[in-house]
């Protein structure tokens, strides 16, 4: 026996029984929500050319991609994300479809995470992309889909909204080189107040610098808007802010119960996202279970500039949360075990098909004797054994 023939690689696992049922039921619930809102399912290849995921525009570091080469030596990666292949697909094969294009997917993504940290390298995501539409209606469409999807499968979530344009508008008015701007962004992303203050202390103290200093603290409920407004007093950042407020109000009407919040310091992948950004959290999970936003620049990298918005839900994380909460989809025992007496094996198989046709869940016995079949039924929790001979005799077990 080879050394690795009985184990799976780090970051992967087998999904068994109730894990599968839970995962499938989440996929089905979410898929039904997406389909009912006009999104059409697509499946993209499990591996694609590296160029589709170019870190320059994808924001995905090349270190996390699993790579190999094709027959001609070209670099291939295991799909680390589903939005980029969908952008490729929309810009090429779907370019003549009327806009907007509404697509959804349910498929695994692969990330080469640092070892020994307990992260999955393979995880199933399901999500939507609404391509070829900009503006309030499109944003509300995506967000209300997210709200409905989460509401149907994970009680007790919190949805958080931000706007990539807020940071960008402030940064535009602070004259610093690109690398320093990136340092500022990264300090805000990690809410590293000490580092942020240190950088900003070295700059002329304008209104924008003062607002930038407060950015990582600008999260919470609706009061955040008032604080942000007084900080940036009607300059360029007011546009994104006013817009976000309209979205927030609209969503609060849709989703009462204080599960919405604002974080103006959501600045991750700031060159990728161009408008509203959002993420959802649940108590049991240290990472976001949903991530999304508007990415109007991406499609131009595939030669068909168009606005787009989308989000992805981490199905595995939600399944784990539900399983931890004890919301297990139980795997019920079979209704009937059908045992064919000697010379009645074929009749037993036909009889089992007949029961299945009547809607019963039915397993056939592979044992030689009646006693073995009954013992197996008892062990497996099957309450009824049908013995098929000249006639059918039903044995009810307790």
């Amino acid at each position: 026996m080879k050394k690795n023939s009985r184990i799976t690689p780090e970051g992967t696992k087998d999904f068994l029984f109730e894990e599968c049922l839970t995962r499938r039921s989440i996929e089905k619930t979410l898929g039904d929500v997406f389909a009912a809102r006009g999104f059409h399912e697509v499946v993209t290849p499990g591996f694609e050319f590296y160029d589709v995921f170019d870190p320059d525009f994808s924001g995905i570091p090349q270190e996390v991609m699993y790579k190999m080469t094709d027959r001609r030596g070209r670099l291939i990666v295991m799909r680390p994300d589903s939005t980029l292949p969908i952008a490729r697909l929309t810009a090429t094969r779907l370019q003549n479809l009327p806009k907007p294009v509404r697509l959804y997917y349910t498929q695994p993504i692969y990330r080469n995470n640092p070892g020994l940290a307990g992260r999955s390298d393979e995880s199933v995501q399901t999500g939507i992309e609404l391509l070829g539409a900009a503006g309030l209606r499109a944003d509300l469409d995506a967000l209300s889909t997210a709200v409905e999807a989460l509401g149907k499968c994970v009680p007790g979530y919190r949805l958080e909204l931000g706007h990539a344009g807020f940071f960008r508008a402030l940064a535009r008015q602070i004259p610093v080189p690109d690398d320093l701007r990136e340092e500022i962004r990264s300090a805000i992303e990690s809410k590293n107040y000490a580092r942020l203050n240190k950088i900003l202390d070295g700059l002329p103290q304008t209104g924008q610098v003062r607002a930038m200093r407060e950015l990582p603290r600008l999260f919470g409920g609706e009061e955040v808007f008032d604080r942000a407004e007084s900080l940036c007093g009607g300059d360029g950042a007011g546009g994104p802010l006013g817009y976000l407020r309209r979205i927030y109000r609209a969503l609060s009407d849709m989703e009462p119960g204080g599960r919405l919040s604002i974080d103006l310091g959501l600045v991750q992948r700031n060159d990728y996202y161009t408008g509203i950004v959002f993420s959802a959290y649940v108590e049991e999970c240290g990472d976001a279970v949903l991530l999304g936003g508007r990415y109007d620049n991406l499609l131009s990298h595939f030669g068909q500039p168009m606005p787009a918005i989308g989000f992805a839900v981490d199905v595995d994380a939600i399944a784990k949360t539900l399983l931890d909460r004890g919301n297990v989809c139980p795997v019920p025992p079979m209704d009937v075990l059908v045992h064919g007496e000697p010379d009645y094996e074929i009749k037993a198989a036909e009889y089992a098909s007949y029961l299945v046709g009547k809607g019963l869940r039915c397993e056939t016995s592979v044992f030689e004797t009646r006693d073995e079949a009954v013992a197996y039924a008892q062990k497996s929790g099957i309450k009824r054994v049908d013995l098929v001979g000249e006639a059918v005799k039903t044995v009810n077990l307790i």
Binding site: R158, F219, S261, E284, C285, D287, A288
Partner: protein, 220 residues
């Protein structure tokens, strides 16, 4: 309501962290007389977990602890994604490149060998200077490596510089300053904002009340 859980780094940072928690009104008698227990209540709906530095980051990153106190040295070496909200101002030292007196690491064309307990910090430093170096991981007293001729220089944390001096080594360049930081899990920050902000606000005021010791360092 589930208590907020804060992971503290055992050892070098432990006493200062406990002092700080007491300043903000936590009852740390259970922590001071901990025996072998690892999870300790300190009142005020707060629970203390004692762990090794790198594990503090692991627990916070996975969200099983909401907050953590850990040195910037460990943060730089281990990376990860979480919020780093407060410089607690104690546990000050620095990352330095050190070697025998007179070592010139930046001239000549031969690739240099660097011994370190912090391979990631060393690699990032030399990458930022566009230098290819060979990095060897050493677990114990890194100062031995240049003395024994295994490495041209070391990257290590330096507090007073005494060990270096006594072994004929000197700081060739300071890489960055290090101090204890308060880190917060991203989901906890969002889901338990008020409790966490109350605590960090108290800690921030307590830290600000302590006069800053030592000279100004480049903050990482």
């Amino acid at each position: 309501m589930k208590p907020l859980r804060i992971a503290l780094t055992k050892g070098r940072l432990e006493d200062s962290t406990v002092d700080l928690l007491e300043t903000v009104g936590c009852d740390c008698s259970a922590v001071r007389a901990k025996g072998r227990r690892l999870i300790l209540p300190v009142g005020g709906n707060l629970e203390v977990v004692l762990a090794k530095a790198a594990d503090v980051i692991t627990y916070v990153e996975h969200g099983v602890c909401d907050l953590g106190v850990v040195g910037k040295d460990t943060i730089l070496e281990k990376g990860g994604s979480y919020y780093e909200v407060l410089d607690l101002g104690f546990g000050k030292c620095r990352f330095a490149l050190a070697g025998r007196r007179g070592t010139d690491l930046f001239s000549g064309y031969s690739a240099k060998t660097i011994a370190t307990k912090y391979p990631r910090v060393a690699r990032n430093y030399f990458e930022s200077r566009a230098m290819d170096v060979r990095i060897i991981r050493i677990e114990g007293s890194v100062e031995l490596a240049p003395l024994l001729g295994l490495a041209d220089a070391i990257v290590d944390i330096v507090e007073t510089g005494r060990t270096l001096r006594e072994n004929g080594l000197t700081i060739l360049e300071t890489i960055c300053g290090v101090s204890a930081r308060l880190i917060v899990n991203a989901a906890s920050m969002k889901l338990r904002k008020e409790e966490i902000e109350t605590l960090t606000g108290k800690l921030e005021r307590a830290v600000a009340a302590v006069p800053a010791g030592g000279k100004e360092e480049k903050t990482c």
